[in-house]
Symmetry: C2
Subunit: 139 residues, 2 copies
DNA sequence: TATGACATGTGTAATGATTACACTTTTGTA
DNA sequence: TACAAAAGTGTAATCATTACACATGTCATA
């Protein structure tokens, strides 16, 4: 598993330092869409000298190379996701959990996920998100 | 025009103070998706004593009452839009302009815009956005 | 018209995620 | 072993937003 991730880093032109590998590994194994701070709090358990700047630097690198997407829904936090398949998100305004939303179920046209252009503009990134109260909190 | 907007405020349970009316008027007449700061810089020309806190308070009120939507695409800025019809946005990473995107053209299923529930969660807000380089900047 | 209570607006200070930057450590190669 | 480049660290700065205490405006009633 870890070796797979290491190869993915190498294949994408990122030298697989221990820090980068652990951060990427955490994101690949936790589908919780953590913030930079959440990642820091967890990964520091394995790397006690870890700096928060390293978290930001690494996330920026992973993001630029297309291995991780940054999800901006609220202006006061960015969430990170190692699942690069096209899907949407639902954020519960009560508990804060970010759920994945399969957009196929919404019959979203394939064009939304694959088109490189829209109204003449060149697309590099796309997001679909919802906010509200989740199933659990609604009771 | 101004009277129409005044009525809209009243109909939505917002007492139409001069400040609120001017801020709402600015948003209704400018389709530029301004930030709080941009609104402040413009409206202060008409109300020299205007405070930025009033901008934030008013935007919060308008947003809560459903007269304005706040668009979060980048984590360091929130844009505001008085056009409450369902549409997407495209942000140019070069010039920063936010374009409206008609989602009908993308054959987005009507369900995306009207459904109240998704995977059991109760939806109160939805956004579709794209990032990239716009037509003008791409040359 | 005066009074008083509540709504609205102001200005400054605090917050907090992110970034800038200078310095330190690690890595890989000769 | 030495050295240059890459990677990581820690502190300080940034900046949009929010908190909060005080000031002003509004409006109903006496």
């Amino acid at each position: 598993m870890v070796n797979d991730l290491k190869d993915i880093l190498i294949d994408n032109g990122i030298s697989p330092s221990y820090h980068r590998l652990k951060i990427y590994e955490y994101l690949a194994q936790n589908k919780t869409h953590p913030t930079a701070d959440m990642i820091y709090e967890e990964v520091i358990k394995q790397i006690p000298t870890l700096s928060k700047t390293t978290i930001y630097n690494t996330l920026k690198t992973l993001s630029e190379k297309g291995l991780v997407s940054s999800i901006t829904i609220e202006d006061n936090e960015v969430r990170y996701d190692a699942d690069m398949s096209f899907h949407g998100h639902f954020k519960c305004l009560d508990c804060g959990i970010l759920y994945d939303i399969e957009l196929d179920q919404m019959s979203i046209d394939k064009r939304l996920s694959i088109s490189r252009k829209i109204q003449g503009h060149h697309i590099t990134e796309r997001q679909v998100y919802f906010k509200g109260i989740c199933k659990k909190c609604h009771k």
